[in-house]
Symmetry: C2
Subunit: 361 residues, 2 copies
Amino acid sequence: MSVTLKDVAQAARVSVSTASRALTGTGLTSDRTQQRLVRIARELGYRPNPIARGLKTGQSRLVALLVHNLTNASFQVMAEVVQARLKALGYQMLLCIGGDDPQQESDTLTTLVDHRIDGLIVVPTGKNGAQLKTLAKDVPIVCLVRRDDATDLETVLADDPQGAYLGTRHLIELGHTRIGLIVGRQDTTSGRERLSGYVRALREAGIARDDTLIHAGHYVPETGASCCRKLLDLSRPPSAIFVANHEATLGVLRVTAERNIAIPDDLSLLCYEDMPWFEWHRPAISIVDNGARDLANLAVDRLLHRMDAKGNGSEGVREYRVGARLIKRDSCRQVDTPAPARSAKPKSSSSKSSAAKSAKA
Amino acid sequence: MSVTLKDVAQAARVSVSTASRALTGTGLTSDRTQQRLVRIARELGYRPNPIARGLKTGQSRLVALLVHNLTNASFQVMAEVVQARLKALGYQMLLCIGGDDPQQESDTLTTLVDHRIDGLIVVPTGKNGAQLKTLAKDVPIVCLVRRDDATDLETVLADDPQGAYLGTRHLIELGHTRIGLIVGRQDTTSGRERLSGYVRALREAGIARDDTLIHAGHYVPETGASCCRKLLDLSRPPSAIFVANHEATLGVLRVTAERNIAIPDDLSLLCYEDMPWFEWHRPAISIVDNGARDLANLAVDRLLHRMDAKGNGSEGVREYRVGARLIKRDSCRQVDTPAPARSAKPKSSSSKSSAAKSAKA
DNA sequence: CGATAAACTGCAAACGATTGCAGAAACGCT
DNA sequence: AGCGTTTCTGCAATCGTTTGCAGTTTATCG
């Protein structure tokens, strides 16, 4: 079917081994024959068979990226970045979707290693630490975005504590003192870390932590909606809400729209992680950018490094943090009263909510 | 490193060939030895090496999906569907991103075939017909969503004419007679087809086509915004806008928000292709669903069929159309005056928009 | 019980590359 | 010219499987 090395060798009247050496550039050939072979190979349209090569060398030129889904905008840009970087180096990216499901993750991992991937970047569920640990002996692995505590794998993380701190401080600087937080479950690292950043900013500003303002739950729109309702129904509702996840943001936007709460006039809104439509939304939504692009790039850097370094891993650093940054758009507003809100601004909120009620019914 | 067939054979005190036959189930072994081998293989944790196997069989158990990007929600669900289906059959999906760029597409295709993929589902740019045609001799290929006219490849398409027709008719049934259309460039199939569906619905309803209501451009938010402005600035602006692409929708939403145009009261909005946040938007956005899920499933079906059928392709049907369907949400509204709009509905629109204005300002 | 067919098993050659080893050619030097 | 180096080249083994062929066992039946 396709042209093999043997064909090339025959056409050039040399042995297969010479042909191989000439084409792979394993120096041991004279310049003359080398060039001749390269020319002939091109003429014949020879393309090395990665499978055969892989069998001998144990490499596949395949690098896998295992993420939870493709719905998450962060994962999208990560996938695109990884793909671009790898392709430039002659690797093919194997993009796999694990669905944040340990079983599926485990299956996929097995298949990938079967296929003798040369490297793996994985967003771990955290439930397959043992397996990952084992696999890491055979394949360079870098964890991305999430840590798997059961392993000591090199891990590239977003700086969630800092991001949450940055966001919260921004709101504080705008004069907000009652800041609602809708955050991820507290059994996830990101959930805990984002909460801690929020708390730290509050503490630094000398604002007492109020647990009625803090709601944790799954990263889905429904959670966002219900948490948002609870916050708004408080006797002293917050003047700003910090939503630590973009999925939840959907729910929040829905609820505020339903209740005709104007953003940022009645309520400031700050989100974590960007979505393409955030800047087209009206008002454009301010965010804390977790730096997906940087994360992906760093992960690739680290992976390549390990792939080069062959077996001799373990050089100290096991955890990298990529800084978050604040992107100010139009959904947060300076608050009139820098002093702690009394049962302030009852006019706007009450009038609005009644209007909403009528609009809905 | 890992357990090979030889190890299993040795442990079972049979030859490698017997082991191979027992494990692959190529019938020619006694039940007893077969079961024994299976057991031993499991005990030893034997996993066949797909590379070695591939070398011999010429197959890789890899199926590639080549799409333009991951930003497009349709591609996301397609990728997820394809991945799920293939995995269930023991294939690994190779997801590749071509960026709608012919050069990149071409490179990727070459790499993929080098890797001896067993099948390919591709959203073609349309510029690499010759190459695709050649590759199709070696690998089963199915085109998805777009046709490459230079080939006679089996193609699974959305029924854009019907989708556009359905959407337009829906708006007409709601009493709209001036319906703006923001559609893709007319040098793309989908652009032309969506326009044709729109035109047909108009014709059937006896509504004269008005070219000032039709705007074509790239599928990006900016286009949506500028086209939307042009439509709104018309002396007789449309009472409904049909946006034939979700990216453009972003621009439209922005502009309507900027101008305090209430949807659906002042303007009905209907979009093509779903986005996860459409139903969380307020108002939830009605759409024509192009059936990404069905498209992907059908493409997989066809691909599997060809992969089974080995070489003997060409059995007539080369083009499949997957029906679109209308999903009514809250962004389209019955128009008061079934008669052609004069500068009608000043009451509702003005009252609403002023309300909106106050709420926002 | 012996012959014949059926069922099973093993040997060895592939698949298409890479690579250690040893022989051959080219070169420099005296 | 002869010798020692250096540089090239080819042979053959190897990676882990699959598979045609031939040989061996077991079953079947008269």
